[in-house]
């Protein structure tokens, strides 16, 4: 009796160990591994256990445990991170009326709605999520889009999960603000860019007043969800993601930041390359427009070389896919970064702009964006230079789970 129990426990332990080996344990071997945490490793291995990276290094120095599935590829990178998308709120149909309404990224009943939480709108089964995951995106900052002075809030997700809670990395990240005359297309007022800024300043001032009054428990005003959200922005608990394209609007965003002291992320930013000194001094990160974004209207001075111009000027940035009003319903981050790579940024620069840079800007670099011990086992595998048109992506791994293993 005394000897049986330990034996049984030992057997159960072995069984659990065996089960663990098949669940989210994986070895990835690459002819070249871009870890984004140091120099690339030729003929390297990434070991993943329980969904987390346990070892990264030269294949000669790492023993792959028996029974662990091994994926091999020419080039291995961290799972890609889209620093700003609307996928999951915006859907594949583009439907705004009738039976198919899958454009939840913009609510046009009011121009300022900081109370809109993304978690209620994120559709984890949206087909576009699988589409972007198939091209390497494992993490995305998504949610409410451009088009209103404040369209709502955003969240960070992994591109997987059977419900929003399972997908979430961070449920509440930023309020989505838009400056410029594009907002006027969706609302009666603001009809001009100056009016938009005035409405935004008024809202933040009211939030300041509300926060001060709430401190006095005797005379505290009733809770107000809109003002609460803006107080969180003023407290640094939520970021202010401001979509602004022209020099005029980017400068207005910087001016608002000076006035209210919030943490500013500049999104879109077609003309950011004309304000690099200001952006560097203000230490404002840029969630830069997709290099293949259509250059029209307020975005008319966008250049394919934007990413490299910002990199050379020392401005922090990452590449976004953003929101598309028409087609494609989502841009493909890998394809967009390829254009930046080919127009001055180079392979490693472009890779940085869709891995470690967005992780740092989003404040999730302790989990994703690089291949090193302790990080999530999020990996992308390619059969060549990831950015070459004719290279294929052959596997996408999220926390040790293999999501595709055929090249496309």
């Amino acid at each position: 009796m005394n000897t049986v129990l330990p034996k049984t426990l030992f057997s159960i332990g072995l069984f659990l160990l065996a089960a663990d080996l098949t669940a989210n344990d994986l070895a990835v071997r690459g002819e070249m591994i871009y870890t984004m945490a140091g120099k690339p490793i030729a003929d390297g291995v990434v070991l993943i256990r329980h969904g987390k990276i346990t070892r990264v290094g030269a294949a000669a120095r790492i023993r792959i445990p028996k029974g662990v599935r091994v994926l091999e590829a020419k080039v291995v990178t961290p799972g890609l991170i889209d620093v700003h998308s609307t996928v999951g709120l915006s859907g594949i149909y583009g439907g705004r009326e009738g039976q198919v309404r899958d454009q939840d990224q913009l609510e046009t009943s009011e121009p300022l709605q900081p109370d809109l939480r993304p978690i209620e709108a994120y559709n984890v089964h949206e087909p576009l999520i699988e589409w972007v995951r198939n091209y390497g995106v494992t993490t995305m900052h998504t949610g409410h889009g451009p088009g209103a002075i404040i369209s709502g809030r955003t969240l960070i997700v992994k591109t997987r999960g059977d419900n929003a809670e399972e997908a979430v990395v961070e449920p509440d990240t930023a309020v989505a603000i838009t400056l410029g005359n594009a907002v006027a297309q969706n609302f009666e007022s603001p009809g001009t860019r100056a009016k938009g800024v005035a409405m935004l300043r008024t809202a933040f001032l009211e939030a300041q007043t509300y926060a001060n009054k709430r401190k006095d428990k005797e005379k505290a005003p009733d809770r107000d969800l809109k003002k609460e959200a803006l107080v969180r922005v003023l407290d640094g608990d939520l970021k202010a993601m401001v979509t602004a394209h022209t020099v005029t609007d980017i400068t207005a965003a910087l001016r608002l930041q000076s006035e209210f002291g919030f943490d500013l992320w500049l999104a879109g930013a077609s003309e950011a390359y004309l304000l690099t000194d200001e952006l560097r001094k203000a230490k404002v990160p840029v969630l830069l427009h997709a290099p293949m974004m259509r250059a029209a209207g307020e975005r008319k001075n966008a250049t394919i070389e934007s990413a490299n111009l910002l990199a050379e000027a020392g401005v922090r940035f990452a590449l976004q896919t953003g929101y598309e009003g028409y087609v494609p319903k989502t841009r493909v981050l890998l394809f967009e970064a390829a254009i930046a790579a080919a127009h001055g940024l180079g392979l490693e620069g472009a890779l940085r702009a869709i891995t470690v840079s967005p992780a740092e800007i989003l404040g999730i670099d302790d989990r994703v964006g690089a291949l090193k011990r302790g990080m999530d086992g999020d990996v992308a595998l390619f059969n060549g230079d990831p950015f070459e048109y004719t290279t294929q992506i052959c596997a996408v791994v999220i926390e040790g789970e293999v999501f595709r293993d055929t090249c496309r």
Binding site: I92, G94, L275, N301, P328, A341, A342, H343, E388
Partner: protein, 428 residues
């Protein structure tokens, strides 16, 4: 101040490039030591192209292709030469078609509406495109006549760019048609697919009657019937003189195009053809060309959910003649090569993908005797690439149209040239 200067310099540099009198060459001109993809034949590793008076006069291996006496010689070692590319579907220059008054507009000519100073044409040249089919949109069953253009240097008016000799009475393009959901609208437009087909068949039946009346009048030696601009254009289609570029996405809409084309004996080109991979054998059997707009992700409406990245490979295997198009500004003309490259990524042969950007596009427009390949007697439209045609790192260095070139690096990098172009125009 400094930045103002920077923009000024940028604009200045770009204007200077636009102003540059091209890389004007003395005739005859010889381009040596390039890797040449003639399309009409196998690639020539170290090739020479000889151009005279805007036409190709010789092409072959450098070792066996001699330079005519007095020719200017350009060394293109390390560079790649392809034909000027042919875009079968573009909206550059803002061509308008019919208005909201009618779903069928055979008499409306896009050539009356195209702005030759549109910066989009510079983007097209920056992408290596030299021949364009500029079309009205897809919001009508028949939105109007399309226009074939050659983007020659220094245009003043649309006449400078036409392929046809007579813009008043000649046939200067195809006819744009559409089915599926874009052309389903409020009255007087159709409300269903079947109604759409019925309206189109009714128009062609009337066209047949018009032709019969003309023939009968001729046979009876009587005055022809009164001219009817609508019926004249429909009759051109029925007589096989004018092609139809047919916007169509879903598999059953594609089959509708095939059925109506067979009934009335005209020659359609399937435009977009999103679901063509589902009915590839039927398209191949009908001998009908498919011109694909290759989008990075599916959706935007129900009828395009069938987007398949392997479409080029599947159509190639089925034996369908395939070209690619930009539908600019749906896709950016500056990256035309990209769509061939992505199809190679998805299983199409490099040879067919290159052909799809050049000679196949020319066939879709019936212009293959003039453009689309590098052969003696054809127009001297060609592109100088920095490297392999389907590498993302390759740049279009020069685009030559009938012996004139523009250097286009600046246009590639600057998103918008409108402000510069308008200054340029005012200066002229």
């Amino acid at each position: 101040m400094r930045r103002g200067l920077y923009i000024g310099c940028l604009m200045g540099a770009l204007a200077a490039l636009l102003w540059a009198p091209g890389l004007a060459i003395a005739d005859p001109a010889v381009f040596r030591n390039a890797t040449i993809f003639p399309i009409s034949g196998p690639a020539i590793e170290n090739g020479t192209l000889v151009v005279d008076d805007g036409k190709i006069v010789a092409i072959g291996p450098t070792a066996t292709t001699s330079a005519p006496p007095g020719a200017s010689v350009t060394d293109l070692s390390g560079k790649v030469l392809t034909p000027g590319m042919v875009d079968t579907h573009s909206h550059i220059g803002g061509p308008s078609g019919g208005d909201a008054s009618a779903p069928l507009n055979p008499e409306v000519r896009s050539l009356d509406a195209i702005d030759v100073f549109s910066d989009g044409f510079w983007r097209a040249r920056a992408g290596g495109i030299t021949t364009l089919n500029v079309m009205p949109g897809s919001g009508h069953l028949m939105s109007g006549q399309t226009t074939y253009l050659k983007i020659r240097k220094d245009p003043r008016r649309i006449e400078d760019w036409l392929f046809c000799d007579d813009p008043i009475n000649g046939i200067c393009g195809s006819m744009k048609m559409a089915n599926g959901t874009n052309s389903i609208r409020q009255k007087p437009f159709p409300g269903t697919r079947a109604r759409s087909a019925a309206l189109v068949r009714d128009l062609f039946v009337k066209g047949q009657a018009y032709i019969e009346k003309q023939a009968k009048a001729a046979a009876d030696d009587k005055d022809p019937p009164d001219r009817n601009l609508r019926m004249e254009a429909v009759a051109q289609i029925l007589r096989g003189e004018r092609r139809v570029q047919f916007h169509t996405h879903r598999h059953n809409d594609i089959m509708t195009v095939l059925r109506i084309a067979e009934e009335f004996g005209f020659q359609p080109v399937l435009q977009h053809a999103t679901d063509a991979w589902k009915v590839a054998d039927e398209i191949a059997a009908a001998g009908i060309h498919a011109s694909v707009t290759y989008i990075d992700s599916p959706g935007g409406k129900e009828e395009v959910l069938g987007l398949n990245m392997k479409i080029g490979a599947i159509l190639e295997t089925a034996g369908v003649d395939v070209s690619f198009n930009t539908d600019d500004n749906i896709l950016d003309s500056r990256r035309f090569l990209r769509y061939g490259a992505l199809n190679v990524r998805n299983g199409m042969s490099q040879a067919k993908a290159l052909e799809a950007l050049t000679l196949a596009g020319a066939r879709a427009l019936g212009l293959e005797s003039r453009v689309g390949s590098l052969e003696p007697g054809k127009d001297a439209d060609f592109v100088v690439l920095s490297g392999a045609p389907f590498s993302v790192y390759t740049k279009v260095k020069q685009t030559w149209v009938e012996g004139d070139a523009s250097s286009i690096a600046a246009i590639l990098s600057i998103g918008n040239t409108r402000s510069v172009a308008s200054r340029f125009t005012m200066a002229m």
